[in-house]
Amino acid sequence: MSIFALSRVKSPWILHYDTGGCNGCDIEILAVLTPRYDVERFGMINRGNPKQADVFLVTGPVTKRCRERLINLYLQVPEPKVVVAVGSCACDGGVFRNMYNVENGVDKVIPVDVYVPGCAARPHQIIDGVVKALEILSKKTKENIELPEYIKERFPSLNDRRKVLEEMRKR
């Protein structure tokens, strides 16, 4: 592996967004950063800044109000990026499935690469999930632009989409 490909895997900076889960998984994500689990071993740091993030950890079932913000944050993370849905409610809605104000999971809104089950997902599961996400990340480059569903809905034709992509590249 070249130093470039290696460095992509060795330095995942994370961004974490709670889309209306119960905090359980958020707190476990925080716990993953603390001495017992210390994911800084893998170079992970929580920058809290979408523009400097590689791994996007999303928890929660995506409430209707968080939807737009989630998409916004997703678009702000520069490629290559991976999205990890942490916790059952981020995967498929969990216990909140089919409640009137939720979207039943992150993958209904943005493309998700890895799903971490568990309610709450325990730190070991989160570490496993991130390790798996890094495998996927090592295959991605900055050219892999995946669009969230809603853009595909809004711009069904390929031409429209190309325009959006160009806009995104220009930004």
Binding site: D92, V95, Q125, V131
Partner: protein
């Protein structure tokens, strides 16, 4: 201030509190509530587990040829153990191993399954109704 200063400097010479997972294996507690394991032999498809499961992570599909399938979604389950406690035939057990992460290749489309199970159940009820009608008329 002084205390933390000393602690910090001393920590340089102490062993870190880190558990080197995944390089060091981790063994969960004996009765950690992990994956649900289904024993096909004992199950009578009574549907009790599907009923008690709070998030609806268990779906039982009754196919059109009356064979039955028991499906469990690890990415939907909240690992409460309610199904295990309520199974009248002891067909379900809860392992102490947590579920591994999934990706696009091995995650089920649960909405699809829910819809399918619902549809199949309607068909099944229809068949039952017809059967009982046939019995009555004969």
């Amino acid at each position: 201030m002084l205390k933390m200063f000393l602690t910090s400097v001393l920590n340089l010479f102490r062993k870190p509190a880190t558990h080197l997972y995944p390089f060091e294996p981790y063994e969960p507690f004996e009765d950690y509530r992990g994956r649900i394991v289904w024993n096909e032999e004992k199950c009578t498809f009574c549907m009790r587990c599907e009923m008690v499961c709070p998030p609806g992570a268990i779906k039982i599909m009754i196919m059109e040829d009356d064979t039955k399938r028991w499906l469990w979604n690890p990415a939907q389950c909240i690992y409460c153990g309610e199904c295990v406690r309520n199974c009248p035939f002891g067909a379900l057990t809860q392992e102490n191993q947590y579920s591994p992460p999934l990706d696009k290749s091995n995650k089920r489309d649960w909405s699809e399954i829910e819809r399918e199970a619902e549809r199949l159940k309607l068909l099944w009820r229809e068949r039952l109704r017809k059967k009982s009608q046939a019995k009555k008329s004969s």
